[in-house]
Amino acid sequence: MADVKAEPHTGAVKFSMLIAGAVFALMMVIGLVMRAAQGNLIELEAPFFYQLLSVHGAGMVGTAGLSGAAVMWYFVGRYVPLSARMYWAFIALFLLGVVFILTAIFIGRYGGGWTFLFPLPAISGEAWEPWAAALFMLGYVSIGVGFLLYHLAVGYPIMKHYGGFARALGWHVGFGGADPADAPPPAIVAAAAVTIFNTIGIIVGAAVLVASLVHLLVPGFAVDALLAKNMIFFFGHVFINASIYMAVIAVYEIVPEYTGRPWKTSRVFVLAWTAILLFVMAVYPHHLLQDVVMPPWALVLGQVVSYLSGIPLLAVTAFSLCVYLHGSKMRWDLASSLLVLAVAGWSVGTVPAIIDGMISVNKIMHNTQWVPGHFHIYLLLGVVAMSFGFMAWLVRGTKASESGMSGLDRMAFGAYALGAAGFALMFLISGAMSVPRRWAVHLPEWVLQDRIATAFAVLVVVSTLVFVIKYAVRLGRAPG
C-alpha cells in the first residue's frame, strides 16, 4: 500500500512534549513530597496531602495521555495528512482543563482523588465546596472533549486513506489472508485501535461526569453507585491504557532506526492488536473484584482478561523487540536506551498486575500499596520512559560528537532505572505488608519503606530533571 509521506507537525509536538516533560517532573516532585510525608520526613496537613494526591493522579494520567497523543500524532502524520488546527484545538482544550483542575484543587481545595468516585465529590465532609468538585470535573470534560477532537482528527484521515477502520486495523491480513506486505504500518494499526477504544472510553467517562455534575447541582438526582463505579473505572482504565498504547508507537517507529530492522505488520501483529482492542475494554472489572454485588461472571471476566491482556504484550511487542535487538547493529543512545527500558518495564509490570487481578489475591492486596506498585512500574518504567525516549530522539544530535551516550546520559539513565525500580519495589513490599494506599498518615511500622522509597524518588526526580532540561536546551536545534 502506497503511503502518504505527510509532514508531521514537529513544532506542535515538541511543544507538547516540553509541557509533558515539565509536568511529569512537577508531578514526580509531588510524589516525592507525599512519600516523604508518609515517612514523617516532612509534615503535611492531611487535607493538603489529599489535594496533592488528587493533582498527582490527575496530572500523571493526563500528562501520560498528552505525551502518548503527541507521539501518535507525530508518527501517524508520517502516513496521513493531519490538521494542525485540530491539534492546537486539542492542546487548547487540554490546557483549559488543566487550569480548571488546578483551580479546583489549589483554590477550591478539592481533594477527592483523580477517580472522582461517586458520590465523594459531592460529599466531602465540608473539606471543599461543591463548585470546586464541579470545576474539577469540568476540567476532565474539557480534556475529554479535546481528546474526542484529537481522535476525530486522527481517525477520519486514517479511515479515508486506508478505506475504513477494518483495513486500518489490518483485518484483511489478519483474517482475510491478504499479503502482509499490503498491511498498514504498525503505527496505523495501533492508532486505529486506540482511536476506537479511547473514543468509547471517553464517551462513557463524559456520561458519568455529566451525571456527577447534575448530582452536584441537584442532589436529589440519583445515580446508581455501582453503575457509576463501573463507568468511572471503564473510562479510567481505558484512558491510561490508551496512553501507553499510543506511546508504544514510538518504539515501532524509532527502534528500527537503531537496529536497521523495520518493525513490520505481520499477521500475528494484527491479531495481537485486535486482541488489545477487545481486552482493553473488557478487562476493567478487575478494578471491581471486591464489589461482590457485581455479577460473578463479570468478576471472572476481569480475572481472565487481566491475564490474557499480558499475552499480546509479552508474546508480540516484547518478543518482537527482543528478536529485533538480537544480533542487530544496535546503536545505543539515551533515546534507544529509554525506549527499550520502557518495553522491558511495561512487560515486567504485567506480573504484579496479573497477580493482583486474581480474585483470591485481590482480596488481600486490593487497595494496599501493591496497586500503586504495579502501576508505577507501568508508568515510570513504561509510558514515562517511552515519552522521555521520544523526547531524547526528537532533539537527538546530528553530529558525530552528539551521537551515543554521554557520561551525563549514562548517569541519568542508570539513576532513573534504579530509582524507578526501587521506588516501585517499595510499594510492592509495602503492599505485601498490608499497608493501605492513599493514606496521608502512616503507622510507625510502615515508615521505613516510605523513607527508602523517598530516597529512590529523589533519584527519579533528579534524573528526570536531567532529561527534561537537556530536552529544553536542545529544543529547536535538532531536525526532528
Binding site: Y50, L117, V323, I359
Partner: protein, 167 residues
C-alpha cells in the same frame, strides 16, 4: 500468603526481564535474527495453557462464596465519614462469620487486619448496596478494621477494632 505472593511475583518479574537482558547483551554483534515465529507460537500456547491452569485452580472454589444457615454468625458493619459502626463487638472463634457491609455516605473499603497487621480479607461498602464477605477466625484476639477505599480528608482515621473470643 502475602509473602508467598511477593516472592512469586519477584521471581516472575526477573523471568520476564531476563530475555531483555539477553537481547541487549547480544545487540551489537552482527547476526541474522532467524525465524522466531515457531518460538513465538510456543510462547503463546504456553501462556494460554498456564492461564487455563491458573484460572481453574484459583476459581474452582469461588472466593466470594457466602455460607447460609443458622450456625453462621451475621455481623453488620456500616461505614461513614469517618467511622465504622460494627453491631457485634465480640465475634466467636472458629465459626463462619458473614460481614454485611453498608455505608451511610460514600464508598468505603472494609479491610480486616490481624494483630500482626496482616490484611485477612476485605470488601467494599457502597451506597445503595450490601456487600457480603465471609471469614472464619482461627485465633482469638483483637482485630483492626481499616478503610481501604479513599473516602475523603480523614480516610486514614477510619480505624476500628473488634474482638474475636474463644467459645
Amino acid at each position: 500468603m502475602q509473602s508467598t505472593v511477593l516472592v512469586i511475583t519477584l521471581v516472575l518479574m526477573i523471568a520476564v526481564a531476563l530475555p531483555f537482558v539477553k537481547a541487549v547483551r547480544s545487540a551489537g554483534a552482527d547476526g541474522a535474527p532467524g525465524n522466531a515465529e515457531p518460538r513465538r507460537n510456543k510462547l503463546i500456547w504456553a501462556l494460554v495453557a498456564a492461564g487455563v491452569v491458573i484460572t481453574v485452580a484459583s476459581l474452582r472454589e469461588w472466593p466470594h462464596a457466602i455460607a447460609a444457615g443458622d450456625d453462621v454468625v451475621q455481623v453488620n458493619a456500616t461505614g461513614g465519614q469517618w467511622y465504622w459502626e460494627i453491631d457485634t463487638p465480640e465475634i466467636p472463634v472458629g465459626r463462619t462469620v458473614v460481614f454485611n457491609l453498608h455505608t451511610k455516605d460514600v464508598n468505603h473499603g472494609f479491610g480486616v487486619v490481624n494483630s500482626s497487621g496482616r490484611l485477612l480479607f476485605q470488601t467494599q461498602a457502597m451506597p445503595g448496596y450490601v456487600n457480603k464477605v465471609q471469614y472464619v477466625f482461627d485465633e482469638p484476639g483483637d482485630y483492626r478494621v481499616l478503610c481501604l477505599e479513599f473516602c475523603g480528608v480523614a480516610h486514614h482515621d477510619m480505624i476500628d477494632e473488634f474482638t474475636v473470643v474463644a467459645n
